[in-house]
């Protein structure tokens, strides 16, 4: 449902507004020497003259069943899942998405691990040593973290670690091509992105933890004479995870937004950068593809989080 609405809205924006503003997607296709006949041919091939909903239907159809683009004798078949062909490069969109996906996934997964570990640890320690210097420092860093724009920390980290100190090389390579290079090129983006998010998690963890430590069952557990480590590890942490997971679901879904900036700053060939390029080129099929992927991201992220709930909270498992 969500996917459908997102797609339709994107479609509408890129089909209706340019028309209203007087520019023509077919013109994007023809290049330097445009010719009325060539433009007409492209309009037909892409069925740009059909009403919005018909075009939308063709698009959905293409996703599941593949689609033929016909223009006179020349028929191009685009197998399912067919996202169409880029207006600018005329290359099929699906392979571009599958190329960019692993980059964004690498970025998201690595950063996510980092920020969970970093944020939750910092939060727990802060909560347990409330009021100490450590607590203040950690929360200070956390607040700085959420106040720093990622493109600024990104540029700064590049300037310091890549350019000044020459510690890392940031030329992205796929994990299968060159694992060492892959790791090297992603380490800065991971840290930068994680820094931003870890801050929120640290603050959330700390708050939840403090609240839980005051609950009766913790007191009971302590009264039973359980060791502090067990009390915290088994009992307190379990409840702390629930709000963290909720936030994680939201964040992972919205991560593509962060990826846009991170990938632009670090020049990673992922979905975010693909999206920015496509948007500035008004390349509708690519924009649609990325937007759909982003929406899919959200759905999958929520699914994963739901599964994790079950792991963390036995009540959910039963229900």
């Amino acid at each position: 449902m969500m996917l459908l609405v997102v797609t339709l809205t994107t479609f509408a924006i890129f089909f209706m507004i340019p028309k209203w503003a007087g520019s023509d997607p077919a013109l994007l296709f023809v290049g330097k020497q445009s010719d009325p006949e060539a433009i007409e041919g492209i309009r037909q091939k892409l069925s740009l003259d059909d009403p919005l909903l018909v075009q939308f239907w063709h698009f959905i159809e293409g996703l599941f069943a593949g689609r033929d683009y016909a223009n006179g004798n020349d028929v191009t078949h685009c197998p399912a899942p067919c996202f169409g062909y880029s207006f600018r490069t005329e290359q099929a969109v699906w392979p571009q998405l599958t190329d960019a996906m692993p980059v964004t996934l690498s970025l998201a997964a690595g950063a996510c691990v980092l920020w969970l570990v970093g944020g939750v640890t910092a939060g727990v320690v802060s909560a347990l040593r409330r009021g100490t210097l450590w607590d203040r420092a950690a929360m200070g860093v956390a607040l700085a973290g959420v106040s720093l724009p990622i493109y600024f920390t990104g540029l700064l980290s590049l300037a310091i670690f890549s350019y000044q100190l020459n510690w890392v090389d940031v030329d992205y390579q796929g994990i299968t091509d060159d694992p060492a290079m892959w790791f090297q090129s992603l380490i800065l983006p991971w840290i930068t992105l994680a820094f931003l998010y870890a801050a929120t998690y640290a603050r959330l963890t700390r708050a939840t933890m403090l609240e839980i430590m005051g609950e009766d069952y913790i007191r009971t557990a302590r009264a039973k004479g359980l060791r502090e480590r067990v009390v915290i590890g088994r009992h307190a942490m379990r409840s702390t995870w629930t709000p963290i997971l909720t936030l994680l679901g939201l964040d992972l879904g919205a991560l593509l937004g962060g990826a846009v900036l991170t990938e632009s700053t670090y020049n990673l060939p992922g979905l975010g950068r693909l999206a920015v390029t496509a948007i500035s080129n008004k390349d509708l099929p690519v924009i649609l593809g990325v937007t759909l992927m982003a929406a899919l991201f959200i759905v999958v992220a929520n699914l994963i989080v739901d599964l994790l709930y079950a792991v963390v909270d036995p009540r959910v498992r039963l229900g």
């Binding site: 445009s34 007409e40 310091i160 500035s280």
Partner: protein, 598 residues
């Protein structure tokens, strides 16, 4: 993008840590490893041939920011793609593999000699060489050449490439292209005859002195009909040159390997030195520069110049690996003469006087990275160029310091005077279009805005994205409706003659409702007549005389304001051999000549 809803905190330390790190970076302006460069010397490839060599072997590694528009020779319009396509596509004639301006000369490639021109410049006849073959070993025939050229008529499928041949050979558009061709061999185009496999005859309805130039573009390449995959041909063009495409992945790059069926004896042009040619794409210009300086790649394929950071590192530390290349690009401002008040020549001239050319030059990168100050539209390498400077620009900009300020003040006084004659003594408001995918154009527009503000001309910069320029600057009605009087832009020649450079920009008969390039909508009978006269000429020097007159006329009418003959800073790896800047390829190295030290 959501406000925080987490807990209370006591926080101080974080900020201090960050600030400390910032200061550390701010302190130094970046000086890194100082490895000894072994380049052939500053400007070695603009003065002559850098590291001349005939040694074969090795891999020539290109890197580029931008992908090819196509590998299909009939669909390429990017200048670097034209230069690159000569690795795998040959034409009847091509540009001489000589440094600088000498490259503008046409020499035979697939043909045994340049055309025999008869019938008052209306018939061009070529004979093909012996031993020319496709990558499968079959001979290249005159029919293959004709078929390749016919593909340009299939406008809907083979889009993107220049249309010159189609417009000259079939101005009425009678032929519908080989895919809709009912004849058995698909060779229905009347204007080209192939009496036998070795002879090809072109019959022009009207003479055009630059016809051979048009055949030298990749659109004149042969295509073997049985290997033609229509719009998909770009993925695997069938090679007629010394290399064949092993793989091409859009957005990633391409690998070319030797075509073992190509015989050196059949090709007087290409030395084919490297064993392999690769193109790697990387969309970050700074990263591209870093990788070049590091020595991972040899040449920046599109040769549009290094970025600000790369440039200063290269010039300061590796000057011997740098060429300051003169491209054939001219940066200029177009005046939409149908948009008020630019319908009045005095208002246009006011802009000429008020413009601070040095400021425009500095903002685009200074004399080395931006280029020399221009006073006319034609690039220096094209016949018809001369020093013509009715507005005293060179005199003004050759001064420095206080003298320059005085000269600018004097020019502004002249601008005020022109404004008075235009009936706008207090100045006026206007909009200037700049393409935001060209950050330098936006910056230059801002510079112009600052300069014109001094005489009361209030400019507003309208950013448009490059993708929509065809429907904005390319549409006279949109320009008028949105009151866009000026356009910050640039232009390079399709082929190195006056026609190839400026006919679409200034000939009144080229004004179109969409995809228009005659943005000024100049329709001057004298200019149009001069073009007709030049086209009839087969002698380039005589044609050049007409182009010179056109060139002067443009500045006199003040319909286009050129300000830079573009130059850029190009990296040449220490491994690169046989490198020289070729005027015919917009100052790029002639890629077909390059080699590498293993």
């Amino acid at each position: 993008m959501k406000p925080l809803r987490s807990s209370r905190s006591r926080r101080i330390a974080g900020a201090a840590v960050v600030v400390g790190a910032l200061m550390a970076t701010a302190a130094c302006g970046g000086n890194k490893d100082d490895d000894k460069s072994e380049g052939a010397g500053f400007n070695a490839a603009t003065k002559g041939i850098a590291n001349a060599s005939t040694k074969t072997g090795g891999t020539l590694k290109f890197i580029n920011k931008q992908d090819f528009d196509s590998l299909d020779p009939q669909r390429q319009y990017y200048g670097f793609a034209w230069d690159f396509s000569r690795f795998y596509a040959r034409q009847l004639v091509t540009y001489a593999p000589k440094p600088g301006k000498a490259s503008n000369e046409l020499v035979p490639d697939l043909a045994t000699s340049n055309a025999k021109i008869t019938d008052g410049g209306k018939t061009y006849t070529y004979t093909l060489r012996d031993g020319i073959t496709w990558e499968d070993g079959s001979p290249i025939t005159s029919q293959d050449v004709k078929y390749g050229i016919e593909r340009i008529w299939a406008k809907d499928l083979i889009s993107g490439g220049p249309a010159y041949l189609r417009q000259v050979l079939d101005p009425d558009g009678k032929y519908k292209g080989p895919y809709k061709d009912k004849s058995k061999d698909k060779l229905g185009l009347k204007a080209i005859e192939t009496p036998d496999a070795k002879t090809i005859i072109f019959r022009l309805p009207k003479p055009n002195g630059d016809f051979e130039q048009m055949l030298a573009m990749p659109t004149g390449s042969p295509v073997k009909a049985s290997k033609d995959k229509g719009a998909q041909y770009t993925n695997q063009p069938f090679s007629s040159g010394p290399y064949k495409v092993q793989s091409y992945k859009p957005g990633k790059g391409a690998v070319l390997v030797r075509n073992d069926k190509w015989k050196k004896a059949s090709d007087p042009i290409r030395p084919a030195l490297p064993d392999k040619v690769t193109v790697t794409l990387n969309s970050n210009l700074d990263a591209v520069d870093e990788l070049l300086i590091k020595g991972d790649y040899d040449v920046f394929l599109s040769a549009t110049g290094m970025g600000q950071a790369g440039r200063s590192e290269a010039l300061k530390q590796h000057k011997d690996n740098v060429d300051n290349i003169e491209t054939s690009f001219v940066r200029y401002v177009d005046f939409a003469t149908k948009v008020k008040p630019f319908d009045n020549v005095h208002c246009r001239k006011a802009v000429f006087y008020a413009t601070d050319y040095t400021s425009l030059q500095t903002i685009r990168g200074g004399p080395q990275a931006a280029g020399d100050i221009a006073t006319t539209m034609l690039p220096k390498s094209i016949a018809g160029w001369d020093e013509y400077d009715p507005y005293g620009v060179i005199e003004r900009t050759s001064k420095t310091g206080k003298k320059y300020k005085e000269a600018m003040a004097a020019a502004r006084a002249k601008a005020k005077d022109e404004l008075k004659q235009c009936g706008k003594p207090d100045g006026f408001s206007a909009n200037i279009v700049a393409r935001n995918d060209q950050p330098n154009e936006v910056k230059a527009a801002e510079a112009l805005q600052a300069a014109l503000g001094e005489v009361g001309i209030k400019l507003q910069v309208e950013n448009i994205d490059g993708a929509s320029s065809a429907s904005i600057t390319g549409s006279p009605s949109v320009m008028k409706k949105r009151n866009l009087g000026l356009s910050m832009t640039g232009w390079g020649p399709d082929f190195p003659t006056g026609q190839g450079f400026e006919q679409p920009l200034i000939d009144g008969r080229f004004i179109q409702q969409t995809g228009n390039y005659n943005v000024s909508e100049t329709n001057d009978p004298t200019i149009n007549g001069l073009f007709d006269k030049a086209l009839k000429e087969t002698d380039p020097a005589k044609a050049g005389e007409s182009y010179k007159e056109i060139n002067h006329k443009i500045v006199d009418l003040a319909v286009q304001m050129p300000f830079l003959y573009e130059k850029n800073i190009t990296w040449r790896s220490s491994r690169l051999t046989n490198a020289f800047s070729s005027a015919a390829y917009n100052g790029r190295y002639d890629y077909s000549q390059l080699g590498v030290v293993k």
